[in-house]
């Protein structure tokens, strides 16, 4: 499963990243790294680009780039609430 396969409200943890693409590296400096928790917020009309929440920040990217991030679902509460 990748970041491109999510629907509204899904919460996932990033497992691995294909880092070749320059814009993927850019997204990594914005916090989309292995171990980070991501929530799928919205997509634009037509499903692309997508809007994700990474620890409180909304980020938008195209599906094309989202495919480079392999993710696994997290079960349970939101990452904000879970912390202590």
């Amino acid at each position: 499963m990748t970041l491109a396969d999510l629907k509204r409200g899904d919460r996932v943890r990033i497992e691995s990243i294909v880092t070749r693409d320059k814009s993927v590296q850019r997204l990594m400096t914005m916090g989309l790294v292995e171990g980070a928790e991501v929530e799928f917020l919205n997509s634009s009309l037509g499903g692309d680009p997508v809007e994700l929440s990474v620890y409180g920040m909304s980020l938008s990217l195209r599906r094309q780039q989202a495919q480079y991030f392999t993710v696994a679902p997290i079960h349970g509460e939101s990452h904000v609430k879970r912390r202590r």
Binding site: R26, N42, Y55, K81
Partner: protein, 738 residues
């Protein structure tokens, strides 16, 4: 040990610049985009700020002075960045200023880092890199109130410890809470009482210092931070410096270091992995989550961000902006119009007829006044653009429109500059600096001048009011439809141009789209007011300088040379008429004689002769020499054409009470044909929709693309397009109506 050495090196770098040369202390205001930098900057500097450009580039430089007690502290508001490896032109400027690589801007003495508490995760990444610059630094934690509403609480003392004792002040920039503490910390930092922080990535620091060892780095050598950034991502400037220091072999050595440290991964990816691992640990330590307050407003915002509601809202917002610009401005415009006319009448009553009266009434008042009228419209337009920007909606618009921009070869990132271009292409083109890809950026720059800017409004408004009947079809007004059509024409021109360029000269890989979407927030009155005031000043300065000057020059060209024979002939005709006629017939005949004399004077003037020379070029468009002369005089700024028409038709007539629209309507060719026929007016409108009559835009294209090729191309291409469009419409229009 390596850490110690590098911090010694950095402190030498600071001290190498004598204090006395820099009478004032300067701090850079740095942070992620939308972290609240500008709001805080405005809070601290108030009106003691000015906006300029960095030399050589159009990235705006906001500089201001904060008063801390009675000690002044100069602040530079830098463009928002996520990391010290730049991706676009504005990020490059921010990083170069921080590294002290911008000529004319000395390296800041210290840093005021602005971190958004709701996005502490991303903020800490930049904060690590900033701390490693080893400058005095104070952290302003903004929006802690918003974070608390989201259910997040911070242990600021713990954060302070994690960051190696860096001063952190929680502030609310909109209300000013925490500002006093912040100022006190800034004072301490100015006095140099801040402890340097150890590197958060010691391995990188160790290899970077290793590259500087055993060398006499001197004044021109790279700093350890420059070497670090260069290792993470190759940077020609720093590599050059290292080669000068160690010879060309250093390139291979750097590659070895990269392979070893980053394990074959790209440097940026390795850095992100390394730093965010630490950051997640710190967040677990300092953030305490409570259940977020369920707020009515956040539920509404969530719903409005869904695909369909968001798209509908986008069209609604756009419709509101255009409606506001045309409907709300009307009463203010009428007010200015009446005042200008009254002023002209009063002044002409006070002055004896002749050269001085003509200069002031026909030249200055008619010329400048006809442009000042549009101040309300322009301010309302800018108000909306500023509001859209300040609330964060512009980024949302980019997200919504990205899909639609793709077939054109652009991305949503082009939407922000293009929407701003509806106010003015100059800030619009400047906003393209956030677009990382060069081809993408140039295509956007060339599309921007097509969009209907506020300077086109005076031309459109004048011609539409004068020549398009105010008929209504149901709720639709014909004048409104024509105006909407002109906006559409601009959009088609811009999109078409971008499409053509992306298929030819600017062919390249499809652009990516990565954008941080700021949370919606209420606009800050102070920020909006300061920005709006700035725009009003720019417009009035232009009206007072360029437009004033052009109006006076055009008046002089239209007034001189003055031959006495025309006056003599008119006097003779007048006395002849007075002998043979009386009553109404006499006064009508006298007025006719005056008009003929004035028109003859104008034809004999320098402007008249010049206009006649260029007339054949524009004759196929149905323009007489007056319109041709006005269009050419409007080259420096398109709104000037209205002023020039105002002046030409004021000089050429004696009947001062008539409005410019009336004068245009009664304009005739020598053979008695109407000059402003419908096909000619529509053609003229198309010409103005597409031509590039704006020196400021050309200058900004020159600076942004750093070549003469693109401004020359843009001008020639757009002028040709405007001419051909006008030609087509006039010729087809006259053929149909004949």
């Amino acid at each position: 040990m390596a850490n110690l050495m590098s911090s010694v090196a950095a402190s030498i770098a600071i001290d190498a610049i004598p204090r006395s040369r820099r009478a004032r202390v300067t701090f850079a205001v740095v942070g992620n985009p939308n972290a609240g930098k500008s709001t805080l900057f405005n809070r601290l500097t108030g009106l003691r700020q000015k906006t300029a450009n960095y030399p050589g580039v159009t990235v705006e430089k906001h500089v201001g002075t904060a008063l801390l007690g009675d000690s002044p502290l100069d602040l530079i508001d830098l463009p928002g960045i996520f990391c010290l490896t730049p991706d676009s032109a504005d990020e490059r400027i921010a990083v170069d200023v921080l590294l002290g690589r911008v000529a004319g801007t000395p390296q800041p003495d210290g840093i005021l880092a602005v971190v958004d508490a709701t996005r502490l995760y991303q903020g800490l990444f930049l904060l690590q890199q900033l701390a490693e610059l080893e400058r005095p630094m104070v952290v302003a934690l903004t929006m802690a109130d918003a974070a608390a509403r989201n259910g997040t609480q911070f242990d600021i003392d713990r954060l302070h410890q994690c960051l190696g004792g860096m001063p952190i002040v929680s502030i609310v920039a909109t209300t000013g809470r925490g500002l006093i503490d912040l100022k006190r910390e800034l004072l301490c930092a100015m006095a140099g009482e801040t402890q340097p922080v150890e590197s958060f990535w010691p391995e990188l620091r160790r290899v970077a210092s290793g590259l500087l060892e055993n060398s006499d780095s001197g004044q021109n050598g790279p700093t350890v931070q420059e070497v670090e950034r260069c290792l993470v991502e190759d940077d020609p400037v720093a590599t050059e410096k290292l080669i000068a220091l160690h010879g060309p072999d250093v390139v291979t050595r750097m590659q070895q270091i990269r392979d070893e440290l980053f394990g074959g991964e790209p440097g940026l990816a390795a850095e992100a992995r390394y730093r965010y691992r630490w950051i997640r640990g710190v967040l677990d330590d300092v953030q305490k989550a409570a259940p977020p307050m369920a707020r009515w407003s956040s539920i509404v915002v969530d719903w409005l961000n869904r695909p369909y509601p968001a798209t509908m809202l986008f069209f609604l917002v756009m419709a509101l902006v255009f409606q506001a610009v045309f409907a709300w401005a009307a009463p203010f415009m009428d007010l200015i119009d009446t005042s200008v006319t009254a002023l002209g009448e009063t002044v002409s009553g006070m002055l004896p007829p002749g050269i001085v009266q003509s200069l002031i009434v026909d030249g200055v008042i008619a010329g400048v006044g006809s442009v000042i009228i549009f101040l309300p419209q322009i301010l309302i337009l800018f108000l909306f653009i500023i509001l859209l920007e300040d609330t964060g909606y512009l980024a949302r618009a980019a997200f919504l429109v990205d899909r639609a921009m793709r077939p054109v070869g652009l991305s949503g990132q082009s939407v922000i500059p293009l929407l701003s271009s509806f106010a003015c292409a100059v800030p619009g083109i400047m906003a393209t600096r956030a677009i990382p890809d060069r081809r993408d950026r140039i295509a956007t720059i060339l599309a921007a001048p097509f969009l209907t800017c506020s300077a086109r409004l005076p031309v459109y408004a004048l011609l539409i009011a004068a020549f398009v009947p105010g008929r209504t079809f149901g709720v639709l007004n014909l004048q409104g439809i024509v105006l909407f059509g002109l906006y559409l024409l601009g959009i088609i021109g811009g999109i078409g141009t971008a499409l053509l360029l992306r298929r030819s000269a600017l062919r390249g890989p499809k652009p990516n789209f990565v954008l941080a979407l700021p949370a919606f927030r209420l606009p800050n009155v102070r920020t909006v007011a300061i920005a709006l005031l700035d725009r009003a000043k720019v417009f009035l300065r232009r009206a007072g300088t360029v437009i004033f000057l052009v109006a006076v020059i055009v008046w002089a060209l239209a007034y001189f040379p003055r031959s006495d024979t025309i006056d003599d002939a008119a006097a003779a005709a007048r006395s002849a008429a007075e002998e043979t006629l009386s009553g109404d017939v006499l006064s009508r005949e006298l007025a006719r004689i005056e008009n003929v004399a004035a028109a003859t004077h104008l034809e004999q003037s320098a402007l008249g002769r010049a206009g006649k020379i260029v007339e054949p070029v524009f004759a196929p468009l149905g323009w007489d020499w007056k319109v041709s002369a006005a269009v050419i005089a409007g080259f420096p700024a398109r709104e000037v054409v209205v002023a020039v028409l105002g002046t030409i038709y004021a000089v050429g007539e004696e009947a001062d009470e008539a409005s410019l629209a009336d004068r245009l309507r009664s304009a005739r060719f020598a053979d008695g044909g109407i000059v402003f026929s419908l096909p000619m007016v529509l053609g003229l409108l198309v010409f103005y929709a597409w031509c590039l009559q704006c020196v400021a835009t050309l200058a900004v294209i020159r600076r942004e693309t750093n070549s003469w090729r693109w401004p020359i191309f843009a001008w020639a291409y757009m002028t040709a397009l405007g001419y051909l469009g006008a030609l087509l419409i006039y010729q087809v229009g006259t053929a149909i109506s004949a």
